[in-house]
Symmetry: C2
Subunit: 290 residues, 2 copies
């Protein structure tokens, strides 16, 4: 792209192109040198680009914020997916809101007994770009059980009544198009959309840099679901590395998940991790108790 | 400091001072805005500075590389210390090489039965600066069981013969003054310095960005010790977040550590973490198998 047409986050510096992930509240910046810019466009919702970095390979960037990368995207995809899928004894209908890159859908597709996998991604351009530039996305799109809906997830969920066995909320940061996926009403709609023993898993942010956000998610879910548990993982391309997910369940406890069901082929998740992810550091336990 | 006297890593930008942690092999940079520069000097060994950041509070910086911070330093200190201290049934003599900030020494001092804690830090200026500017370091220095030796750790260790119960290798990155702490000879000297049932714990780098370094540490230790286990944690101020330590033991297995001995007052470590830290993601397990 020409100098006067740079997307959010990109900067030219002596003929090198850099992407700067700005963390304004922390007064921090993380810069990646871009070896090649594979795609950029402005969609109806956001700026979408795919950049090739040395540190993480191909990186999907929305409005200047790195979302998922070739080298560590599998960690996010496996960690948001398998805990819920292992916890439910027999999931038939699985859905995910956000995640147009289809990474979590591909993880769900590893379970032969799942009959239907719906992906709800508001921006059709994200899906299209990912399918062209990320192998994982292309592979996922080929599974006949997967259907992609280009709709607002917060509206789509209101049409599902007690139907979904496992629902993954693959939401981006709580501003822009994803802000509505953090509202009190949204959590209520999620509850209503789940079957009598349904399970929802939420991306719930950095426990180190945004404990307040995690606590809000946790407490809102506790007011609705009998079983709510936060688990953590390490995602190198996310600020601070440590990242949280929160699982809300109507009936089945993730600590009793049948980890023998874990399909082969994962690169982060294994039976031990499916349990140990719930061993929270003291600073997180302390914060969630209050 | 004046513009023409800037230390490694620091840059002035429109009257703001920034510290840039340069990761050249990854073509990445992480920048911290410095609210206040509390100290800077050039010692006989390195450039030492303490900077106040928004993201992590006070930060000790050596030759431009962030070492330990006020807000997350406890994670490193607790994780390098307690696994070895819990694994040994009755440690009397504990020593640490590196770590002039005395953070790990303070963790060891929480165990009332430990009789002697030696800290070997090559650079007396590091110890002095930390004791003035980090509360943790000051508190540790007051414990009468702690003695600080300003010596080269690689030489000091050769004078200890089968004496040390728990030895912590709190080494910085494998270049500069710490390079010798990664040599084959050093691992042999560590083995010889330990008592008949002694235990050593090594900082062993980022498993994501430097798997080769972790594998080298792991395999060198395996050629000397009957029990070698790698464990991981999440340290937000370290590149990529996920970080590894490797414990090498002559007799006691860390997986059988008596976690009931864990002293009160930790902020990261707890009984569950003392076990779950050994649950390695598949990508690490795979790499260590080969």
């Amino acid at each position: 792209m020409a100098d006067d047409d740079l997307l959010l986050g990109y900067e030219k510096d002596e003929n090198e192109l850099w992407l700067w992930d700005d963390l304004p509240e922390l007064h921090m910046e993380v810069g990646y040198r871009i070896n090649r810019l594979l795609h950029f466009e402005r969609s109806a919702y956001q700026e979408i680009s795919v950049a090739e970095t040395s540190a993480f390979g191909r990186m999907l960037v929305l409005d200047g914020v790195p979302q998922i990368t070739e080298k560590d995207g599998y960690i996010y995809n496996e960690m948001i997916s398998h805990i819920g899928l292992l916890t439910h004894p027999n999931p038939q209908y699985v859905a995910m809101i956000g995640g147009g890159d289809c990474g979590p859908a591909r993880e769900a597709a590893r379970y032969p007994d799942i009959k239907r996998i719906d992906v709800v991604e508001i921006d059709p351009r994200v899906t299209d770009v990912c399918q062209r530039l990320f192998n994982r996305s292309r592979a996922a799109a080929l599974d006949p059980r997967i259907t992609i809906f280009h709709e607002d997830g917060a509206r789509w969920i209101q049409k599902q009544r007690e139907r979904i066995d496992v629902l993954l909320i693959d939401r981006s940061d709580p501003f822009g198009p994803a802000a509505v996926l953090y509202s009190r009403a949204f959590y209520q709609h999620v509850y209503s959309s789940l079957s009598y023993d349904g399970i929802a898993v939420f991306q719930s942010g950095s426990p180190f840099f945004d404990m307040k956000g995690l606590k809000t998610t946790y407490h809102r879910l506790q007011s609705l679901f009998p079983i709510v548990r936060t688990y953590v993982t390490s995602i190198p391309s996310f600020p601070g590395g440590i990242w949280s997910f929160t699982v809300a369940s109507k009936r089945h406890d993730p600590l009793a998940a049948n980890t023998d069901k874990l399909p082969a082929g994962t690169r982060y998740m294994n039976k031990a991790i499916a349990r140990s992810a719930f061993a929270l550091p003291e600073y997180i336990q302390d914060a969630l108790r209050t």
